[in-house]
Symmetry: C2
Subunit: 198 residues, 2 copies
DNA sequence: GTCTACTGACCGAATGTTCGGTAAACACTT
DNA sequence: AAGTGTTTACCGAACATTCGGTCAGTAGAC
């Protein structure tokens, strides 16, 4: 009942969406530059040229995937819960939501986190990502100014390390194996905010 | 006085060592697969073919660089200080030393952390890296069993998150800009072991 | 008969690597 | 000091292969 007749008529096969999701999977396995259109064709079960019927090219696939990750992060920034309450409360909420977006859009965020700026597409994505990083940096600095973060550590360092732990999730998390986004966020916040030592 | 006449006679130019260090720099900028031998030649100030006078090929450059990172981590595991004392003390020491190796061999470790297993060389490096990861996992589990880590978080999750923060350092650390390896380790251990909240 | 979703043949450019040649620096003899 | 031979460190051209991408043609659903 969910999608009885999605479009008028279809011969069964691929559409831009399924091509994208499979392509992103291969990009994450072999790296974007290490993936050839031949690799994608093999994963899709069609020939190289069939891909160009659905999408304009390799770099457009990358651009669409990166936007999917970045749009999630920017929606997070625009949420009013990221702007009300004490800085430490907002920071905790933002960390939790970041983990949720990372888990919900795992392959897309994973791809984003590996971008190095080799093309215009990648540089544009990097610039949007840096905007998110600056947003986090401001939150940590505010929380420190409000006296809710221990004063003997540099806020800039804390920002990097805290979100280093968050982004590392994309490198080892396996959704099939139990833990939910909330489990991850709980463990992360307990460690980073409360400390591991008993 | 350091190197008056390193070898008998030399016309000034490159050697395998300088080629490696420059190549690793370019690999980290553009990614290994995104780097062509032409890119390397440009960075070295020679033509493509000159590179093959000093090193056997692109993949050998990668292999040598990855070994340089992995050898550091394996020396750490073999140190007796990683085997004496309580588990939490050993864990703290290993985290601190890992940060030091990461900083000392920054470009090599950075390259290692981005390997995805695209070739035999990469798969071999990944396997050695996993051995180090298992070593860390055992340390955390022991510390939890000895009651020195809060019991309300999964040791496997803690391992990943803690070393996620460590490895993230390679993605943002700039040696020129102040912080030393000890500064990084101090901030990391304060956050992860003591907690950020005052 | 028309549209969808492809295939297969092909293109020019870029890839990692090899090879023949060579100018300069050195060692050795005279 | 001059001449000879060898080694070092490279260049330029070419190699086969792979790359991302194009295009004419077509089988099958409507």
């Amino acid at each position: 009942m969910a999608t009885p007749t999605p479009t008028r008529h279809r011969k069964r096969g691929h559409d831009p969406e399924s091509v994208l999701s499979i392509a992103v999977g291969v990009f994450n396995e072999r790296g974007y530059d290490g993936t050839s259109m031949e690799d994608l064709a093999r994963a899709l079960g069609v020939t190289k040229s069939a891909i160009y019927y659905h999408v304009p090219g390799k770099e457009q696939l990358l651009a669409r995937a990166l936007d999917r990750a970045l749009d999630g992060l920017f929606e997070l920034m625009a949420d009013e819960r990221a702007a009300s309450g004490t800085a430490i409360e907002r920071l905790e909420w933002v960390v939790r939501q970041s983990v949720r977006i990372l888990v919900d859009r795992l392959p897309y965020v994973t791809l984003l986190l590996r971008v190095r700026g080799n093309s215009g597409t990648e540089q544009a994505a990097l610039e949007r990502r840096r905007e998110f990083d600056r947003f986090i940096g401001r939150l940590v600095t505010e929380a420190a100014a409000e006296g809710d973060i221990r004063p003997d550590v540099d806020p800039a360092l804390v920002t990097r390390l805290l979100f280093g732990a968050v982004t590392s999730i994309s490198e080892w998390y396996q959704p099939a194996r139990g833990a939910s986004a909330d489990d991850l966020a709980d463990a992360l916040l307990k460690m980073a905010f409360g400390g591991l030592r008993v």
